[in-house]
Amino acid sequence: MKTWIAFWNILKKDVRNYYLKPPNISWGIIFPLSWTLMQMLRSYGGVNLAEIRNLLPGLISMSVLFGTTSMLAVTITFERRGRSFERLLLAPISLSAMVAAKLSGAILFGIFNAFVPVIFAAFFVDLAGINWGAVLLAVFLIAVTSTLLGLMIAVSAKEVFEAQTFSNFFRFPMLFLCGLFIPISSLPVFLRPLSFLLPLTYGTDLLNRWILGASMMSPALSIVILLGFAAALFALCQYNIQRKWIL
């Protein structure tokens, strides 16, 4: 019960202090919208509304990736600089519970970001027949793994600008390597193994299956791999936090 009270209040504090701030809400809306429009214009030489559905898996993945990684890495680095993070480290709750609370805020923000292109698309194309429960599961798994990548960055960075730089170092290659806008089969052969080392590849593949009806792997396999990535990243983050934050 005590852990739950602490968990809930850390989450609530993060949502109020960071995620519900106007700049972040506008980022969460404008960023996915601009990418949606840009992709539509770039891919089809003009606004082709019918093709928007094909762009959705990539846009959703990208929105989640950018939303989660930027926010978590920046908020944690910001709190560490102001030393308010020490309060969380010194609270009598397990490190896992505290980290899970911090992750939850970013995951929720990522999920919110994911549905901005969906809502936009819903105005122009028929999205009937999509299993939204399955899409939500895929979005959730992408959000979890991306947030954990953000946490890995936060553990390594000392300054906010470092966190942003590290985030971009990971995120931009992932846009091209994970099948968001360029199919993995179209990538040079030597780059393809790299794609399969990145969790976003499996998340995007799930979205491709449940939005477009086609995927490289079976959904069950992608889900298992994503859960494996999440567990491994969580363990790695815990280890790094113990090593770097408790000196």
Binding site: M1, K2, T3, I5, A6, W8, N9, I10, K13, N17, G82, R83, S84, E86, R87, L88, L89, L90, A91, P92, I93, S94, I246, L247
Partner: protein, 326 residues
């Protein structure tokens, strides 16, 4: 462990590579007392406190708080301690009341309990009016007070304070010292690190001096003072030039050392307490009127300087300039 001891630190050491920040220190804190760790910047005060609260891992040694092994089980120990760090580290965006409630929630307090306690604390710390203002708009003194309030919202058995009055105005510092004594009166055990000698002298029951990671002296204020006092000294101020009388006084009071301080003031130092009337009668017989007699006792600052070789004024200036803390 003595049942009266709430904290026991044994052979505590912290190394960063080749550098030893804390070097094999041992001490204990009894329930309900205020213990101060006094030392210059870089002496190892903050490293010691960080190890005691579970924010740093000792390289060697053990720490027990209320029977709980802090090294093996820091989270259990953290439930019974309150922490006031050297910087006011609450959330700038949140107001005072919400900050206190959030800190209460971290200790698992229910909404009703933490809100009630937050109101009580705001009242106790004279911050009720500022309760709805964002923390970032607080003055330094107010920030410090709210940070202390946050440290005790869950009514900890032992409170750790790292430099609680550094950089704040005199009135706020005085108020904080009163609050600490009030907390002690309510049974809270307090461990405080400070570089202000007079603060340690005013609030601490026992003091340890730490220099270069080692505890070089410890005891109550009077024990520490006795450690450098070798006898009792009286200072007499008179109306006449005493220069011609020094030898006579020395001959008359052979067991004491007589020293001329100025032309009309002398000191007499003896191993035993000095009876006053023979001296006064003797001087009166010589036509010398005594205006003032004062027993000279060393201050804690004298003790600190004597033991550590560090000038107290330098200690204060270093910290106020914002030197390296540890």
């Amino acid at each position: 462990m003595n049942t009266q001891e709430i904290v026991t630190v044994t052979n505590l050491t912290k190394r960063y590579g080749d550098f030893t920040a804390v070097d094999n220190i041992s001490f204990s804190i009894r329930r309900g007392e205020i213990v101060g760790l006094l030392g210059p910047n870089g002496a190892g005060k903050t490293t010691t406190i960080n190890m005691m609260i579970g924010l740093a891992r000792p390289s060697a040694g053990s720490i027990f708080i209320n029977g709980l092994d802090v090294v093996k089980n820091p989270k259990k120990a953290q439930a019974v301690i309150g922490i006031v760090p050297d910087e006011s580290n609450l959330y700038g965006e949140m107001d005072g009341f919400d900050n206190l409630c959030f800190c209460g929630a971290l200790y698992g307090m229910t909404k009703a309990a933490r809100e009630k306690r937050a109101r009580e604390l705001l009242d106790q710390f004279d911050l009720t009016k500022a309760g709805k203002r964002p923390f970032r708009a607080y003055s330094k003194g107010m920030r410090r007070k709210l940070t202390i309030a946050a440290g005790i919202i869950h009514e900890p058995e032992i409170l750790f304070l790292d430099e609680p009055t550094t950089g704040i105005d005199v009135e706020s510092a005085r108020q904080i010292r009163r609050l600490l004594l009030d907390l002690k009166g309510r049974g809270t055990t307090i461990f405080i690190t400070t570089h202000y000698i007079e603060e340690a002298e005013r609030v601490c029951d026992r003091i340890a001096f730490i220099v270069d990671g080692r505890i070089v002296a410890r005891g109550t204020v009077s024990e520490l003072m006795e450690s450098i006092t070798h006898g009792h000294t009286l200072r007499l101020a008179v109306d006449t030039d005493l220069t011609p009388f020094v030898e006579k006084l020395q001959a008359r009071f052979g067991d004491c050392g007589v020293e001329l301080q100025s032309s009309n003031a002398i000191t007499l130092t003896c191993k035993e307490r000095i009876p006053l009337s023979p001296i006064l009668q003797y001087l009166d017989g010589m036509g010398v009127s005594v205006f003032e007699v004062r027993e000279l006792r060393p201050t804690l600052e004298d003790v600190f300087v004597k033991i550590t070789g560090i000038e107290a004024a330098r200690l204060r200036k270093e910290k106020e300039k914002g030197g390296l803390g540890r």
